[in-house]
């Protein structure tokens, strides 16, 4: 298990370095930073001065290590647009996005795992069809459209829930559903097919031959085997939800990272965009790493490879 963890950790590090390198390059290829820092109408001498002042004349690789070193200490530079430390901006916005992502994934799991299980236990019955239609609907509806439907129905008509802002948990209900529903079909289908496959396997026949009762066969022996491929997908989905909540955040006027990314892109605030890319990819890598660990915990065969 230790060797496995270290291997995965090493792999995660390598990916991390690659991603940060790309993220660093992103800023550099987008234009000469000395020109934009020196400001409009600056003379060539002034630009050269800035270049030397900020060290932009030195080899790129050294600049990368300096930048990475600062980033590791939580210094992501300043936003030239707002004159604010990027790290601080990120910290302020992160909470909303993380809450939204985690609750959306939880919603998706709570909906899709039981539905997938029911559909697998009773394939080709009405429950299977209900599950399938829920899944097809989730796949077919764009999340922004579903979000708007929710707003019109629960926000405007019934006035049950607030339609914008992030002050209380009630503000998160609709965004969570809109975002989480989108991830439901993939997880549900995976649970369903996994359960069907495991239920037909030899070791379930053994479990039945042992006289084990249904709940134990289902939850202990079937679900655990069937959930292993779901873990990796769920991690990827959470990554998507953190990065892909831009649309949902705009619809519900949530002040999260997605919103910040949207605004920053539109005003070419590159250090902020770069920091968000870095943050999201780091989260992604950490999630994948955690998923690997969880899978190793669930499946001893993975542990010993």
């Amino acid at each position: 298990m230790l060797i496995y963890t270290l291997k995965r950790l090493g792999l995660a590090m390598i990916v991390m370095v690659t991603v940060s390198l790309i993220s660093f390059m992103l800023l550099r290829v987008s234009g000469d930073p000395a020109i934009s820092l020196a400001g409009e109408g600056a003379s060539n001498e002034e630009i050269e001065f800035v270049r030397i002042q900020y060290g932009f004349d030195r080899p790129l690789i050294i600049q990368y290590f300096e930048w990475a070193g600062r980033a590791l200490h939580g210094d992501l530079g300043d936003s030239p647009y707002l004159n604010q430390p990027v790290a601080q901006m990120l910290r302020e916005r992160m909470g909303v996005t993380v809450i939204l992502g985690v609750s959306a994934l939880s919603f998706a799991m709570i909906l899709s795992i039981p539905l997938g299980m029911l559909a697998a236990i009773r394939p080709n019955t009405w429950i299977d069809r209900v599950a399938l239609s829920i899944s097809v609907m989730g796949q077919a509806m764009p999340s922004f459209w579903f979000g708007l439907i929710l707003i019109i129905f629960f926000g405007v008509h019934l006035r049950w829930l607030p339609i914008s802002g992030s002050d209380t948990w009630r503000h998160f209900v609709m965004p969570t559903i809109a975002l989480g529903y989108y991830a439901t079909p993939a997880i549900m289908r995976l649970v369903r097919s996994g359960m069907i496959e495991v239920l037909a396997s030899d070791h379930i026949r053994t479990a039945r031959a042992k006289g084990l009762r249904w709940p134990r066969i289902l939850f202990k022996h079937t679900l655990r085997n069937a959930i292993i491929p779901v873990v990796a997908v769920a991690a990827v989905q959470l990554g998507f939800m953190l990065g892909g909540s831009i649309v949902i955040e705009s619809i519900f006027a949530l002040n999260g990272l997605g919103n910040l990314a949207w605004v920053s892109i539109s005003r070419s605030d590159l250090p902020v965009v770069q920091a968000i890319v870095l943050f999201l990819s780091t989260t992604y890598i950490i999630l994948t790493f955690l998923a690997d660990l969880l899978n190793a915990f669930l499946d001893p065969r993975i542990r010993s490879t």
Binding site: S201, D202, H203, R205, T206, A207, R208, A209, K210, G211, L212, R213, R216, K220, H221, R224, N225, L298, D299, P300, R301, S304
Partner: protein, 328 residues
């Protein structure tokens, strides 16, 4: 004395897209307490279906009907699924052909052994574990305390099959069904496992149904033999009768596949029955073996080929037996 298990006129049909497959046709036999009955026949003869029908573990496409499947005097067919599951593992256990895939890869051996007992009996974790250790030693696994912590993938096929046997014994069943328990194993391991099963069956005084395609295995362990072909019984008898006086051409064919110590020279080709077992789909008549039988005549295709009984336990299904029955 009533038998431990009495199966009367058992039929198993599988509803397949291609039609109804008559996997088991009108099979009757009984297993005495503490005795071994062997079901013998090539692959595809319906042996596993008989075992699964008794255990109530037929696949969803399988439909079982029988005049009687009486176990310890109770008709299993009339039993609810819930009641049935209190018998499975507790009173009757089954060992499968595929030791590599028959254990749950996610749990330790200890966990899977212990739950076989705790599901049926109110015992402490300690007692269950002690029972597991005791049985692992019984099935010839040394260092059993540390084995309990191992996972299936860390063990060889032979060890896994030993563990399956130990698992079957956890509750002390009165009937054990072993479905080709050695087919998937190396030849050297096969004899060990078979010997183990025989000695365990004696020691725990269980009734056993031993399913095999190898008549040679049977001679050492079985009391009674049922020869199956294409879902039907073609010959039954006790072990001596079957070996001394095989009647059915199929039994004789199986016999020729067995190497005889001292007689079969190394490298000498053993007999084999040409052709394969037909798939029993659709309308069936006559002797199923006639397509492969060197003695077949036109009469063999006649309808209504009954099992001919010559004594209480001895019967055969052939209208043209190669021996005169008086000899048998």
């Amino acid at each position: 004395m009533s038998a431990l298990l009495e199966v009367k006129h058992l039929n198993v049909d599988l509803n397949l897209p291609a039609g109804t497959l008559h996997a088991v046709r009108d099979v009757s036999f009984s297993v005495e307490k503490g005795k071994t009955l062997s079901l013998v026949g090539e692959s595809g003869c319906g042996k596993s279906m008989i075992a699964l029908a008794i255990m109530g573990l037929l696949p969803p496409s399988g439909i079982c009907s029988a005049e009687k499947i009486a176990f310890e005097g109770l008709d299993l067919q009339k039993m609810s699924e819930k009641k049935m599951s209190t018998f499975r593992g507790a009173r009757m256990a089954m060992i499968f052909q595929e030791p590599m895939t028959s254990l749950d890869p996610c749990y330790t051996i200890g966990n899977q052994l212990v739950e076989a007992l705790t599901e049926h009996k109110k015992v402490s974790a300690r007692e269950a574990r002690d029972r597991a250790v005791f049985l692992l030693e019984k099935v010839g696994i040394t260092g059993s305390a540390s084995r309990l912590k191992q996972y299936p993938h860390q063990l060889s096929g032979g060890l896994r099959q030993r563990i399956m046997i130990a698992m079957g014994l956890m509750c002390g069943p009165s009937l054990i069904i072993a479905d080709e328990p050695t087919t998937a194993l190396d030849v050297t391991i096969q004899a060990q496992i078979m010997g183990l099963l025989a000695s365990i069956q004696q020691e725990f005084n269980m009734g056993m149904i031993l399913i095999t395609h190898d008549l040679g295995v049977v001679s050492r362990v079985a009391d009674d033999v049922v020869i199956m072909y294409c879902g039907q019984v073609v010959e039954t008898g006790n072990i001596k009768e079957i070996f001394n006086n095989p009647i059915h051409p199929y039994t004789r064919g199986l016999m020729e596949c067995i190497p005889v110590p001292g007689k079969t020279k190394p490298g000498e080709k053993l007999g084999s029955i040409p052709g394969i077992v037909p798939t029993p789909i659709g309308d069936l008549w006559g002797c199923s073996f006639r397509s492969r039988c060197s003695l077949a005549t036109q009469e063999c295709a006649a309808r209504g080929l009954e099992l001919i009984k010559i004594s209480d336990k001895r019967s055969f299904r052939c209208i043209n037996p190669p021996v005169t029955i008086a000899d048998a």
